[in-house]
């Protein structure tokens, strides 16, 4: 069962990620860089998630590690709460 947070991340990815693969079916631990997420698209994705969830990522979370996979992003969001 997909969590609401994971659903939001996937929908945001589908909207702004410009991935080579379907964001809704991509494995949660798959590399987003390998799927085609550029450094600029990663920032757009963070902004999109912030808008959708009403949160703000601190600078220390705006890193390649946080954006490595859907699961990593989900963990970063949960760490904020």
């Amino acid at each position: 069962m997909m969590s609401r947070t994971e659903q939001t991340v996937r929908e945001a990815l589908a909207e702004v990620g410009n991935l080579d693969e379907d964001a809704m079916s991509l494995a949660a631990d798959a590399s987003l860089a390998d799927a085609g997420l550029t450094s600029h698209a990663a920032v757009s994705l963070l902004l999109e998630i912030e808008d959708r969830l009403g949160i703000e990522f601190p600078p220390e979370q705006m890193t390649p590690e946080t954006m490595a996979s859907i699961r990593a992003i989900e963990a970063g969001i949960e760490a904020l709460s």
């Binding site: 702004v16 410009n18 550029t38 450094s39 600029h40 698209a41 920032v43 757009s44 902004l47 999109e48 912030e50 808008d51 600078p59 220390e60 979370q61 705006m62 890193t63």
Partner: protein, 144 residues
Amino acid sequence: MGVGIDMVDVAEVTSALERHGRHYLDRVYAPAEQAETASMSPRRMREYLAGRFAAKEAVLKALRPPPCAAAALTQIVVTGAGGAPRVELAGNLLAWWRSSGHGPVDVSISHTRVMAVAVARTDQGPGPGTQEGDDDEQDGADGA
């Protein structure tokens, strides 16, 4: 020596501006960078922003700061529209850079209407106190 390179699709900047507007500008670009766009045409502004984004990423790749110095992109300020770009660091990234032994950061930016690319380079000197007689203070304080 540290070297970093990054390339940005201008269309991605256009999309981010249309979708996120002020939120995008304020999270990525410092006030000094935004001020330089004031007199630019919309097309030139998009190219400028794409070039600045590429430069910021290139600087991060060249410096490779540790997690404790993780920086907001607004802490890497690349000004000098129409001339040689000048890099300034701010906040915790500047504090880390001052003690890292890195020399000044040089950046070169180029773009077409479609893509922007930037290369950053810095000399990696000795860490503070690791070389006899070396003064680890960086002259100019905030000019990287």
